[in-house]
């Protein structure tokens, strides 16, 4: 098996045993990028020279006999909405096409301190607004399992890069499903941690009360390893949680005996593809056979999560994206009559259609006279959704649902109809509304591409999610399958 197909923990072992060097590994991954990037297009920017430099520094440490951290020397891909000092950070938007941040985001700093080798910045839906990677200004990423299909979104490049070996692991961000849905579509493991668990400092803001950074990996152990590195309090992010560090690898035990699993029936309704339903049900049966107690539960407010999201997220986005004025950074239109005209032209030429659509919805909902009817109403229903989850977690350790209602869909299939695109996040959005963690892991395959199972837990229960996911993984082999490209 090629190096690029291996996991972090397998490669770490090889580095420690000096079977391979980090430069060899990095070259192997870069060669894979050369081989498949034209088809898949995971990246907006490649940082080949930097990667080789970082790898050489790690090899020096190995040669000097220094102890090696588990992420040290392992190639990573970073979603292009996380600031990387002096390296273009575009959010896949024309408005930031030339933006070079003067500082690093906290997670990039953390990974840097842990000896990362950065292969590049990954493609995404523009400003993370989308579920297919098709709103990117830099072209669409394709699903490595079926090049006619989307990789999911918004973190489609991060998911695809890990699935096809263009990176060993990657980081994404999740506002309504942007880690979990592409993880499901690309057959990898993706975690959206509890809101506030990972610092958002230096993550370009989309919807600040929903955004959260998390890892994409080939298996659950890798995911726990990356979470160990990126979770934690950051005084530079006022919404970051000041709670104790955990060693998530301790939860990697193959045991779900006595675990109580709720199956929310509202996630198995019409609109959920038959193959998806069957794969999830098979997965549930497997966990049952391993000693978990599964039973149906009702979360009647689930259907309201999507409308709540499509008020809260655009409202917060319209406010966050007001900063793009073409004055301090970003695209600036020429030939404006006056300052207001310059704002209008810079923003209208700099943003794509989906971003403008969301800014319009948000601006309308927050405009004079509509606040109570939309934003306040949505925040109240948000309370009901959150309470409903809390009640469920008094009885159940975790909830299991599909990650996405369908297998990967075709390129262009939903671009003409925004609402049908929004529907592809119906299973993931409620989790962001409540601020709780959820993981997606592969549980099935179709001709269109992989299917993902979502495991949802209460606030700060990532270790429980890892335990259930690890047990599932140890008793299946979906995580060992790789796309042939």
């Amino acid at each position: 098996m090629s190096l690029y197909n291996l996991t972090i923990h397998e490669l770490h072992d090889k580095l420690v045993k000096k079977e391979i060097s980090s430069v060899e590994l990095t070259k192997d991954v870069l060669a894979r990028v050369k081989q498949v990037e034209e088809k898949v297009h995971s990246y907006v920017t490649l940082t080949e020279d930097l990667a080789l430099e970082q790898a050489a520094a790690v090899d020096k440490k190995i040669a000097a006999g220094e102890e090696l951290g588990v992420l040290e020397g392992i190639p990573v891909a970073i979603k292009d909405n996380m600031c990387t000092k002096n390296i273009t950070t575009t959010c896949s938007s024309k408005i930031l096409a030339n933006f070079k941040p003067p500082y690093n985001s906290t997670i990039v700093e953390k990974l840097h301190d842990k000896g990362m080798v950065m292969i590049g910045k990954t493609n995404m839906d523009e400003f993370a607004m989308g579920s297919s990677c098709e709103t990117s200004y830099f072209g669409t990423t394709r699903n490595p399992w079926n090049l006619n299909n989307v990789p999911g979104g918004s973190s489609g490049g991060s998911a695809a890069s890990v699935a096809c070996g263009e990176a060993i692991y990657s980081l994404g961000s999740d506002t309504g499903g942007s880690i979990r849905q592409p993880a499901a579509f690309c057959g990898v493991v993706g975690l959206k941690p509890t809101y506030g668990r990972v610092s958002r400092y230096g993550l370009v803001a989309f919807a600040s009360s929903l955004d959260q950074i998390g890892p994409f990996t080939k298996d659950v152990r890798d995911n726990a390893l990356v979470m160990n590195a990126i979770a934690g309090y950051d005084k530079r992010d006022s919404t970051s949680l000041n709670v104790a560090q955990e060693d998530y690898t301790k939860s990697l035990v193959n045991d779900v005996k006595g675990l109580k699993i709720g199956i929310p029936k509202e996630y198995f309704v019409e609109g959920i593809q038959l193959e998806v339903r069957e794969s999830i049900n098979k997965g549930i049966k497997l966990l049952e056979s391993l000693g978990a107690h599964c039973e149906e539960v009702s979360l009647p407010h689930t259907e309201y999560a999507l409308p709540v999201y499509y008020i809260i997220a655009p409202c917060e986005a319209s406010s966050n994206l007001a900063r793009y004025d073409g004055v301090r950074y970003g695209f600036s239109a020429e030939e404006a009559a006056d300052l207001i005209d310059s704002y209008k032209k810079s923003r209208s030429q700099g943003f794509g259609a989906e971003v403008k659509r969301r800014i319009m919805i948000g601006t309308y909902a927050l405009s004079s006279g509509y606040y109570d009817a939309y934003y306040l109403k949505a925040q109240k229903v948000r309370t009901l959704i959150k309470n409903e989850f809390e009640q469920a977690f008094q009885k159940y350790d975790v909830l299991i649902t599909p990650t996405a209602p369908t297998a990967p869909f075709g390129l262009g299939a939903k671009t003409g109809d925004p609402l049908s695109m929004y529907m592809s996040d119906i299973c993931t959005i409620p989790v962001n509304i409540a601020g709780i963690p959820a993981i997606s892991l592969p549980c099935g395959h179709t001709a269109e591409g992989p299917i993902g199972m979502q495991i949802i837990g209460k606030s700060l229960s990532e270790s429980t999610l890892f335990k259930v996911a690890y047990t599932f993984e140890q008793n299946t082999d979906f995580h060992k399958q790789r796309p042939s490209l």
């Binding site: 004055v327 970003g330 600036s332 032209k345 319009m360 919805i361 925040q379």
Partner: protein
């Protein structure tokens, strides 16, 4: 129902501009989306407190001490136009 006039008003608030075709498209699409959102009216929320934030967070303070920050050069490095160490914009005061 949102009219094309509403779209023009909201566009001004958002500092965006659209051609006629785009205005028609946004009018239709925003109506579809708002129509979907209106299903929230079915939910009784009279005695429900809003959740602005999922965490029980309070204000976060720090000591008011001077620390190193971005240099002027770094802060201006991405500016489309600059002059004399300042961001440059079109004239806003009439002479």
């Amino acid at each position: 129902m949102i009219s094309k006039k509403d779209v023009e008003h909201v566009a001004l608030l958002a500092r965006l501009e659209f051609n006629e075709e785009e205005k028609e498209m946004f009018t239709e699409q925003l109506n579809n989306i708002l129509d979907h959102i209106s299903m929230l009216n079915k939910v009784e929320t009279d005695n429900i407190a809003p959740t602005y934030h999922v965490l029980p967070q309070k204000n976060v303070w720090r000591e008011d001490v001077v620390k190193p920050s971005l240099s002027r050069e770094d802060a201006l490095a991405n500016a489309p136009e600059q002059e004399n160490g300042c961001f440059k914009v079109l004239k806003v005061i009439e002479s």
